[in-house]
Symmetry: C2
Subunit: 240 residues, 2 copies
DNA sequence: GCCGATTTGTCCGTATGTATC
DNA sequence: CGATACATACGGACAAATCGG
């Protein structure tokens, strides 16, 4: 809300999403937009680079900035960026609920350290949650939080929104996340907790979250029912 | 090779990857690095923002820039950015080979247009390839290329590296890519072409590639054997 | 094929704001 | 409070690619 380049980015993005700037058309030139927004060309370029990084436009040297955004044809679970479960389900117009299956304090041993990236001996909080989308148990989340970073976290809070608690109560901002996606055979536990309908594979998204201090304070393995999972991403070819 | 910010980005990245700047340490301050590289404040920041976007560092306001890169513990098939199959397999030290299963000219009908994002009536080249990793048929690629963008493409070339052909022969640069990952039930065709060992699900990565003109010229659906598939990604929380 | 206008790409120097210590 | 360090923004300069006359 504060940064000018961010406001310009959002404004242009909105114009792309509502069709004011349609697919394959060109944006007004840099100089025109600079006048329109009353900013420096440098600031405008920063907004444009955000649009490019997120797959909305593609600048073409000497020619113009082409819109390459196509509206999503069906709901996607993740579109890049970091979202909480509540945010994602709301954006996809899905009713959601959460049940907490486990909540306990543990110390990282060899096995946990290897799986999460924490150091052996770190004091952690283990939380297991089942996510329901439109009534279907679709996601099993197994999370390890760094104990010292989440003082006051309870099972009750885990049943609501942990991110809400972190940001509003603790003032702890989730600044960055690293994600890995694999497909793995459903465990006995998965079959027990999720409505898999006989499917015996799950899509596993592992997320490491870093706070504003650069400390990893969460590692979550989300086991998704495969036919309700979709992940989107945009990549830019690096100039080798 | 040309851009200064890119050279600085690569240099710092190399220092992070080889442990000169270890995990959780802080980089030298902006002003120090500016003097070291003899560049402007602005240019250095651009290099730093690349490092941040790719998950190497996390700048912390008023404090410093913390290294959050941890070396990959096991081979990942994709690490963000756009890579050809040959590049990816080489980076993971896997022997690879490709067999072309189909090569034909088609016109996009309703069904193909909906699945790929082309317009109905577009003239396309359909290529089907089976990728082997260490002798195992692990990936089935079904690609649609825009005919006018790939003149001279033959089945023989498809058996080698199409990207090599595009970049070196046609001078066609892959500038951007959009990816979607889903998990789907293996089709009869998948079971026929891949060594699935009885697994009846596949990880599907759909890629749309755009050239330097902003024209989508390739749409590929890669069906991966799930236990040989891994995807990595880094996300930054947008300031809402 | 050349030239000039337009447009994007890179880089610099400076100023100011804000968070941390 | 002051020093340090990152964050944002401005304005100017030049390079490189595209396109039309």
């Amino acid at each position: 809300m504060k940064a000018l380049y961010d406001a310009i980015f959002r404004d242009i993005r909105a114009n792309i999403e509502d069709g004011t700037y349609p697919y394959q058309s060109f944006l007004p030139s840099e100089s025109v937009l600079v006048k329109a927004y009353g900013c420096s060309h440098n600031t405008l370029r920063r907004a444009l680079s955000l649009l490019r990084d997120q797959g909305y436009v593609q600048p073409i040297h000497g020619k113009g900035v082409r819109v390459i955004y196509q509206p999503a044809e069906r709901a996607s679970f993740t579109v890049g960026g970091i979202e909480s479960f509540a945010e994602t389900s709301a954006r996809n117009h899905l009713s959601s609920s959460t049940e907490v299956g486990a909540f306990e304090h543990v110390v990282a041993d060899e096995r946990v350290a290897a799986a999460t990236g924490y150091a052996v001996g770190d004091k952690l909080v283990y939380v297991e949650r089942v996510r329901r989308l439109n009534g279907v148990a679709a996601i099993l989340d197994r999370s390890y939080f760094l104990d010292e970073q989440v003082p006051g976290l309870t099972a009750e809070i885990a049943g609501q929104s942990i991110y809400n608690f972190l940001e509003n109560e603790l003032g702890c901002i989730v600044a960055m996340g690293k994600r890995t996606i694999t497909v793995e055979r459903a465990t006995h536990h998965d079959k027990e907790m999720l409505d898999l309908n006989g499917i015996d594979y799950v899509a596993v998204m592992t997320t490491q979250a870093f706070n504003a201090q650069g400390i990893m304070f969460e590692c979550t393995q989300s086991h998704h029912r495969p036919d309700m999972f979709c992940f989107r991403d945009t990549a830019v070819r690096s100039t080798v």
